[in-house]
Every structure is written in C-alpha cells, then in structure tokens.
Amino acid sequence: MHIPDGYLGPATCGVFYALMLPIWGFASNTVKKTLKARQVPLLAIGAAFSFVIMMLNVPIPGGTTGHAVGAVLVAILLGPWAACIAVTVALVVQALLFGDGGITAIGANCFNMAFIEVFAGYYLYRVISGSSPITSNRRVIAAGIAGYVALNIAAFTTAVMFGVQPLLHTTPQGQALYCPYGLNVAIPAMVGEHMLIFGWVEAVVTALVVKYLQKQDPSLLAAGEGVAA
C-alpha cells in the first residue's frame, strides 16, 4: 500500500502533507499530555515494532506493494494518537532509508496508514469490544474485524488517490502525467485484492496477536486503552 514517488501529482502530495501537518501536531501534543516521560521510548519502540511488521513486502497489481501493516494492532497496544506517531515514524524511516514509499508521498501514505487505518481500526475495535473484559473472545474477534475493515478502508482511500490522478493531471492531448488509471480501474484493483487477500492477513495477524497477549500479559492490552485520548 506504500505509494512511491511519481504515482501522485504535486497537488495530491501537497494536499495530504497539508492535511497531515495539523494531525501530527495534535498527535504530538496529545501524546505529550497522555504519555508519562518514562513512556517516551515506547513511541520509538512502537515505531520500530510497526516497521518490523511492515517489512515483508509483496508486489501487487493495480497498486504498489502489499503486506500486513499492523497499524490497528499498534493502535490497540499504544492508543490511536501514539500509534499515529509510531506508524508515521516507521513510514518516514522506510521512505528515507529503504526507498519503500515515496518521499513526496509521505503525507499521503501517512494519511492512509497512520491516520485512516489507525483511527478507523481503533474505534471499530473499541465499539465491537464494548465493555467486555480484556481477556474475552469478543476482543479477539473485534481485533480481527477492525484489522480487516480498517485495511480495506485505507486501501480504498489509496485507490481514490490513484484514481483521481488522470482527472487532475492529463495533458490536452489526453496523456496521463501520473498514475494512468482512473477510479473505475484503481478502486476495484486495490480494494479487490485487499478484500480477498491482504485484509485477511491483517485480520488473522491482529486477532491472533491480541489472543496471545490476552494469555501472556493482558495488562499490555489495557495499556493501549489507558493512553487513548
């Protein structure tokens, strides 16, 4: 789902940088208030954790690359605002050091994975979990559903970004300047493969990790709820 440089036009890149700036600012302030000083390294740990989960890349047609993002999992463990920063940091490290995801597309990638996926997944998890105990099976199911749905929502927003490029940037002669496929191709291609393959990977990973943590150390799951704004 990482969008490389060259797929999105300057207007789209600029808009998503502009959209993410206040989100990063608000996330930074919220985390400062909610995280204690001794929990600051946790942000870096969360970012590295997010990076490790995202490391396995598989090329996919229609979009760019596919893998388990783990954004919902990080949100469940750290809370949504801290997860927003953690996933952002992981995406910046990937783009700068490993060329995975474009530098000009960092704003767009962060919007999809560090904002849309994190918040959609986290709140869906909270709604489905309700007031059930930390160790209940309902939370495992909630985590799976949240992982699946949030990834597909993020895939949809990514597809829309790709799909609007021919509308925004085409020469008078009809030549596409950036991603050459419209919404009618980009949405079915991106959402289809995420609904059929990668969404399930995300759901299984998120649900199973929650299940293992319930058995091993349920306090780690409670910690994420403690730092949610």
């Binding site: 400062k32 390294p41 870096a44 954790f49 490290v93 009809g174 990790v209």
Partner: protein, 280 residues
Amino acid sequence: MKRANNFIERSLMGALSFLKESIFADELAARPGFLQSLDPHVKAITMFSFIIIVLFAKSMLLVMYLYVQCLLLALCSKIRLGFFLKRTWIFMPLFALFIAVPAIFSVFTPGEPLFRFQVSGIAFIITRQGISGAGLFVSRVITSVSYATLLSLTTKHFVLLKVLRVFKIPQVFVMVIGMCYRYIYLFMEIVENTYLAIKSRAGVIIRYRHGQHIVAWNIAQLWQRSYQLNEDVYSAMRSRGYSGEPVILNGVKTGKRDWFWLCYALTLVIGAVYFTYWRR
C-alpha cells in the same frame, strides 16, 4: 494442507537483508566520493529538490536529464553503476513498468493510434498518448527512486535521520526516529534468532495454520519484550542527562563546495520551473 515454511525463510531473509543493507550503506557512505564529501544538510536539501523537480516535470527530456545526472552523481560518489542500476530498478520501477504496460492501449488511454494488432480476434490499439504517458510515468518513478536511493547510500543512516531537523521537524520526532532506528536493529536480531530457532525445531514442512500462529506468537512476544525494555531505556536516558526535552548534537560545517553545489541545484530548480511552466 502442509506447505514448506517459506514464511520463515522470507522473514530470515528480510531480517538479514536489513542488517546487511544498513552495514553496507554505512560502508558506502564512508567512501571518499563527491556526495559523501558534502554537508549532509545541503545534500538532503538538493536531493529532495531534484525529487520535487521530477514530481513537477511534464517533459520526458527534463526527467531523463535528471536521471542521467543521478547516474553521474552515483559514479562520482564511487558507487558501481551495475550495482546502482540493479539496486534501483528491481522492485518499484519494474513494478511501475508492469502496471504501466496496459495503459499504452486505447482501452485505458484513448488517442492517436500508433500500432494495431489482433489476438484471438480481439483488436488491440497502442496509442501515442498511452506510450508517452507510460514512458513518463516509469521514468518519473525510476528517477525519484534513484535519487532517494543515492541519498541513503551516500549518507550514514543515523546522520540522515538527524538531518531532518533542517526541515523544522520537531526535535521529539527526530529523537523518536533516531531511537526507532536503533530499535529496528534490536528487533531484527530478535526476529532472526527466533526464526532460526523455529526453523531448527520445525524442519522444512509446517502446517499453514500453525505458521500463522507462529507469526502471531512472534509479534506478541516481540511486543512483550519491547514493552519490558522501555523501563531500562528510560533509565539509560536519565543517566545520560535526559530531562524530558531532547537535545540533538550537531557538528557538521558547510564549506565552499557545498555552497557551489547548492547554487547549481537552485539554478536547476529555477531552470526546471521556467522550462515546465513559463516556456511555451
């Protein structure tokens, strides 16, 4: 159904390649080449400028000029061309090429027909607009990827992350990014050791569902261990003087060569803007 445990091999390869890449990049960054000799701040600003020019460019000629310049910079920075081409073309640009191919046909890009052919009675038309659009798209991707790769190959990774300060990114972010990079090393080692242990016990065949459980268990274990580590890291930070506000050290000086290079990049930016938007 039983399957060969490819996910173990892949995870191991991923972890190993990460560690190898980091060490190799630091080795290349230490070579006495042109880009290595520049102030990292200036280098990052100019490389980002080139990537932004590529983003705005509407002409294939301009993008190709920038691509050739990138290859020359790689050569001047003691990076073997074969290695650089292999490194930059594999994956993203090849994938871009793969997805650009259907766009050359009239179904996706209507326009002036260049070639027509039939396969099983179905007519295919390749259009001029399709060819030039796909060409520009692929060359834009490869040129951008090449500049980003060149920057990361000629700059020590931890220095590159510190350079972010020049873009007015809050220090807390820069500190978290720097710490994250060190943690990635640690996590990769944990992943590598754990998967090696699993491989030595599970053999070459593993059940699909069991494989999923192994991956999830590893992620959960990793989180548990890292959470416990948090307390130790905070104590270490306190013992080194951390009082809640991060301070990042900086000792790089900007020389004449850096200013010349910056002037050249600025001229190129102005030229590219003129060429793209005002020259008609």
